[in-house]
Amino acid sequence: MSTETTEGSEETTDDEPASSALETWDRIKHTERFVLVSAVVFVAVFPWVFTSLPLIPNDLLAYDQLARLVLIWGIFALGFNHLLGQTGLLSFGHAMFFGGSAYATALFANNVVADPFLSVVVGVCFALVLAVVTPFILLRLHTVYFAIVTLAIAQMLYYMAREPFEGITGGINGLGVERSPLFGLVELGADIPGIFGALWGTYMYLFIAAFFVAVVVFITRVRKSPYGLIFKAVRENETRASFVGLDVWRYKFAAFVISGFIAGIAGGLLPMETYFTGVERLHWTLSGDVVMMTVLGGLGTVAGPILGVIVFLYFEGVVNGLDVIGGYWLLTLALAFTAVVWKYPDGLWGMITSVSSRLRSRRGDQ
């Protein structure tokens, strides 16, 4: 008897600091500063974990470039998520911002100045122009209509880049891209010396990571602001949002422009990374890929799309190369994607958070 009570009392005293730690965790995990810190930590350790984690067989580890591609596609998926996850507009033509920006970046780098930063800025400006012009057609349309016409516009650009503008874009052969040192100072292809080199590889990683962290911070700022809440209101119920007196068109327009802007950053970074750009970056399958990544990871969150990108690129870049099961990578992803949209709309990230909340509620029950 007495031992039981002492055990019980011990438990409660043990629990006290733990539960207060959980409360603190709950308080900080939604703050913007926490998002910033975790983005920086993620960027700092991710390439090492992804490419050289000990005790994992070499076949299952990714290569350096894949880590950089994850960040680039992560930016793209965050941009896409801002439209679908936050505002509820499904675009099947986001390749137009990605590919458009990639071409603008490449052409600027080849013909004007090959500075990486300036080229990316030019690419983003082109994506912005597209994102400002197209809504005048698109935003009159709803759901499926919107999705199909975004796709139609992107496909138009694809076919235009493929043949009529072959002289400029290189057609189906694509376009080699030049890259000079950043601001004439830092050669981005060079290895970082010392321990940081072991962690991050080349300066290019830092260049991309800077954009990545900036995008995460920007997205979080928008999400947490009263302005960002209106996007959610529009997603939940457009009619009600307009009854409250909000100009729904304006907010959809803003969401579209922000989304295109971020997708443009990713599109501009890619040719700087691969020294190449091609028409397939305008093709609708690329839009399909980003839809898959974002939805698979978890719509409407910041971590979800990035998780989706990691899973997708891991399958494409690593699992693809394995014997026997390698050929099934895309089928597996398609099955996982379908299962997620059908039965588990919160995606992989939603699964993780629901498991953790279930664990905590079980603790609470005792």
Binding site: T143, V149, Q155, A334, F337
Partner: protein, 310 residues
Amino acid sequence: MSLVESSVQFLFVALSVASVYLLVALGLSIVFGSLQFVNMAHGALYLIGAYVGLIVGFQVGFGGLIDRYGLAPLGLDLGFLAALVVTPIVVFVGGIAMERFLAKPLYDRPLLDQLLVTFGILLIFQEGFNLVFGRTGFNYARPDWASGPILIPAVGSVSRWRIYVVVLALVFLAILFAFYKYTDYGLAVRAGTEDTEMTELLGIRIGRPFLLIFAIGAAYAGLAGILGGSLFGVNAGMGFSNIIPALVIVIMGGVGSIKGTTVGALLAGFVFAAVTQVWPSMATASIYALAIVVLTIRPSGIYPTGRVGQ
């Protein structure tokens, strides 16, 4: 080549392209209009139709898993006509299965979810077919009665097969129209499209007519798979490359309207054929351009049905 001959040839190229798109778009449009279900997996039926047609009609040296397990060449080799008859029946059954297992659980979900799930399903089929049948393309070997030119007096020669495609599409369009207009099932579907709840309140079991119309749409897509496969070649990517223009046509014409879909397909066929003459590389793009123009002027399509897309 005389002006008459070249314009008749042009007419049949345009009509045959329109026919393939029309047969796919009809099912898509009716299901979208009456069941409020947007079905990208409809492209999978087109894809299945093309491959079933190949297997029934010919013996084909497939690659992929079939080759690895020593099953190639695979096929019943019953000839082209048998393929034309058997395939729609097989795909009809496939359509019933798709309605029961895919569409029915999704009827009450938002359009966005339906679009994403069926997109995933089509992707699964495309990748599955790539793995099973190999990533190469295949061709329909048409028999003599379906190939070569036909001589029309005072006009000139026209591709015999294109004429058959157009005639077949017209016949099936007429059948569907008659079904819609003159049978009780068709009446039930039309009533259900107007107001599903009210129709059910009147004691009509709307599920079965809807299932039937879904399966008919599927059979049409399967037939289109053979026709399209014989005109443009067969590969696993054909589902996507057909369903997207078909969706564009459905939306352009006005969802749920047979008339609208027909007009949309004709417009697309003629624009496609016209642009092919002057600027072949932009032929596919011209359909998208057409849709952008039409939807900018009429955001709900040419013949809006009111409920969908508002």
